[in-house]
Symmetry: D2
Subunit: 294 residues, 4 copies
């Protein structure tokens, strides 16, 4: 349930804290500290106040903010003993549907990480595809304690920013969302290609892919909505798939069997979850091009 | 073992027939008939003589030429009771390594075809990938007897042409081979991309692919030899895979992680086994293009 | 001076006619006839009423509508003896700045046309570049009287539509404007190219070109405003010129002297004045591409 | 008249010198010195011997090699009082057809250069287009004496290499030639575009261009011979012009009038006269691409 920034500015302190208490897991004191600094002109200013409250807290509290965080795909998550927001975030990343082998792998990584750094492994999962999540886990396990302490705190802030963005409406919104869009141009007829089936898949491993969006191009050659929007674009390798052969068959062109181009696949990586990835297809039945556009 | 056209022209008729007797399966009479028309100026002229010998034969013989052909992936093939050339051809198409389920499917198709047309199903397997072979089988099963009789004879001639081409050297060679080649251009540095790993896979089904060639680009951005040459390019859907990310990493460019382009895949279909398919990749770290070139 | 559709609907008939009387040259009777059909829900409906008033007029009036039209670059225009709107339209097309030779050519064409068809040559000049205007003149001179009569009336309506669009604001605007825009993508850095100088020239003849717009790309790689908008895009051959070499020099790339690509020119034709021509440049220092986009 | 390396190796020393005496202008002593080092296995080895003879010569002789060189477009050249080879080279660069104004400009530059450095301005004119030649002249005029002395000697060697290459045949030829070629691909039909008119022009100034080659594409989409080959590609800005609209009209496509693409122009710079510039056009009626290929 969202609340407006104006309502938050006007609410009694207790209510403010009640609304925002879960933005930092098990740490309502962050919201309490920020309540005193109202009113906020923008959501960004509110988030800054929360961030500064964390920075100003005594070391023990700051550490507790990290140690209180649930593990990724951990036993507590499995047993439902973590905060509501965490349950939803981990589920969105597919961490509630792991095979036994995958669960065991996370168990081992979690244990190794906790052993090495004395902290749970914290990552803003909504910013990562599954392959990226595991790669970061392994990379950070090889890091040093000081760097990891900073990384963990940075991730807690990223998680908090996304939660705040989902809770509060108002001016000066946080820039937590990216965008992934496409566009199909028909170079035989010199205009947008309409009615082309488009599929976006996340390549989870060398052999596994998960379709994350399906759409059809409209009269402008675009999909009615971006393929991913209103959220971070998870760091991952993606494949866009276009039914180009069907488009040209419908257009009545005489194509060989099989056609030179039929299902066209564009494989690309996303490294900036808050970035805009426009990946167009400019194509004839015998040629195509793509690029990162804007 | 190859023999020169000159030697064939000069040989006693019996020797000529011995050399070419297996070009048409179980039908040395075709070579016998052609022997009398020597000398031949070109291999093409020799092949024409063989084709005309078939055309001039009495109906019973022409029919026997078809009925005597081994089935694809049939029991006789499995038991090794077919001509040496057929064994090699079917093995090259992977028909000797079918799973039990695939073998059963061929059995059923063969039986249905023989039941419907009174002929074994004949197809020049070297001109088809596995998916294409099954599609043609199904398409021809739905055809009519007259068309099928003509198709079967045409395929016998295609098989014979490939066998003759492999046996006889000399002027005026048959045009039985196609070519599949590639070329990688680096548009950041404006020249050929050297040392790029290239892989060509045949997409056998929606989930299965078989790597048919691996190579690395040379200083001219090409592979030292075409990816497929000296034989028909099997009708199939292919995927070319390029290690573009590695190329730009080696060149010292600062790429995001994961890079926008890493493994680039180009998917295309081949419909003319005797055609030249040049499929270049013109790429920067953020854009690429391909087309059917020449 | 513009007036709103609402005001026109509410005005006394005489005032309505006064406002719209010049939409059809020397023919206030067209507006008078339409006044009786008020109110109009849209500007399009108003235009339809004007068009129907023309269609319903007696033959003599319809013919007078054509014969009363000024010639292109004619003596009357030169002497300022034509309607204010015509003066502006002809001036916008450069017809008031012809050399003596060009003026003489128009004189000859006008005379030949009037001799052949008994009408002045009528063309909606705002929809044509100078070369197109002359080509149409010559093509129509070779036409037959019946076709020409229809063409002349169609052009009168096009002229009227543009005049009406400039005079009246309100819902349901006429679709009389096209658009010409561009976009520069840098495929070395994978994003919009900012600060690129762009020039649009109309190619008047094989040797003469006239710059019609100059701009610089912004942070999104586009120009702040379309290069042509809010009016028909004149039928013509254009050349877009981009300072691509300067862009890559500013970016610090090490380019040869002279660079492979420096001033990049894209030459293209516009045939639909009311269409949208998006002509992007996707470029590295060693490659570029364009297409008609959307 | 050419001579073989073998013949030069076998000839009496005087004959050797007679043949090669003009390779270095007014300096047969260079050839004389090299004669003693025969036989040469390759033309490259012969050239090395000539270069080393220059390097080993006493300062006065080396200086005379420079001072004895004719000026570009100088009075001596005009009066025909320079070596035969120089006359031909300067004529090929168009320096014998200068307007009075251009001649005056060269006069002034020559005088300033001689005044500043005590040497004639020496440049291997066959490696430069006219605009490049003037730019180099101005750039070198701003240089310092030591650099200029080295530049002048380097240019003398380049001139000598081209003369030697034209005189002597044999193994190990000098690499003095570049290449400029093109290729037209039709992405509507997926193959080479045949019969496309191609024109190559050197852009001499902002307003002047000189056509240096005309050709038509063959069945492979290439011109029968490269547009420039067997000589250095002059440093210059070029424009390739393709009759693409005519190609698609001949192919029966329904194009607007004027077509979106009609005469397609590709403008590019050449900075390495000994390089290979392959500049293809990959095009449909609504899109095109080019790049520096190989």
């Amino acid at each position: 349930m969202t609340i407006s920034l104006d309502a938050l500015n006007a609410a009694p302190a207790a209510e403010f804290t009640a609304h925002l208490g879960a933005v930092f897991e098990h740490a309502p004191w962050v919201a309490e500290a920020a309540a005193a600094r109202r009113p906020f002109a923008t959501v960004e200013a509110l988030f800054s106040a929360l961030r500064e409250a964390v920075a100003a807290a005594p070391e023990a509290r700051r550490l507790a903010l990290l140690t209180g965080h649930p593990e990724l795909a951990g036993r507590a998550a499995r047993a439902g003993r973590i905060a509501q927001a965490s349950i939803a975030e981990q589920a969105a990343a597919g961490l509630d549907r792991l095979s036994e082998a995958e669960f065991a792998r996370f168990e081992a990584l979690n244990a190794a990480y906790r052993e090495r750094f004395g902290l749970p492994f914290i990552l803003c999962v909504r910013r990562h595809g599954r392959a990226s999540l595991l790669r970061r886990f392994e990379a950070r396990l090889a890091s040093d304690p000081e760097t990891e302490r900073r990384s963990a705190e940075a991730e807690v802030l990223r998680i908090a920013a996304l939660r705040l963005d989902a809770l509060v409406t108002g001016a000066g919104a946080l820039r937590v969302a990216g965008r992934l869009s496409t566009h199909v141009l028909d170079t035989v007829r010199g205009g947008p290609a309409m009615g082309v089936a488009v599929e976006l898949a996340e390549l989870v491993s060398a052999t596994e892919s998960v379709v994350v969006a399906r759409a059809e191009t409209n009269a402008d050659g675009r999909t009615d909505a971006p393929l991913i929007a209103g959220r971070p674009v998870p760091v991952a390798t993606y494949e866009l798939r276009f039914g180009l052969g069907d488009h040209y068959r419908r257009a009545g062109l005489d194509l060989p069997d099989p056609p030179f181009l039929d299902l066209v696949t564009l494989r690309f990586g996303v490294a900036e979850p808050e970035g805009h990835y426009h990946v167009p297809l400019v194509a004839s039945p015998w040629s195509y091009q793509t690029y990162r556009g804007s």
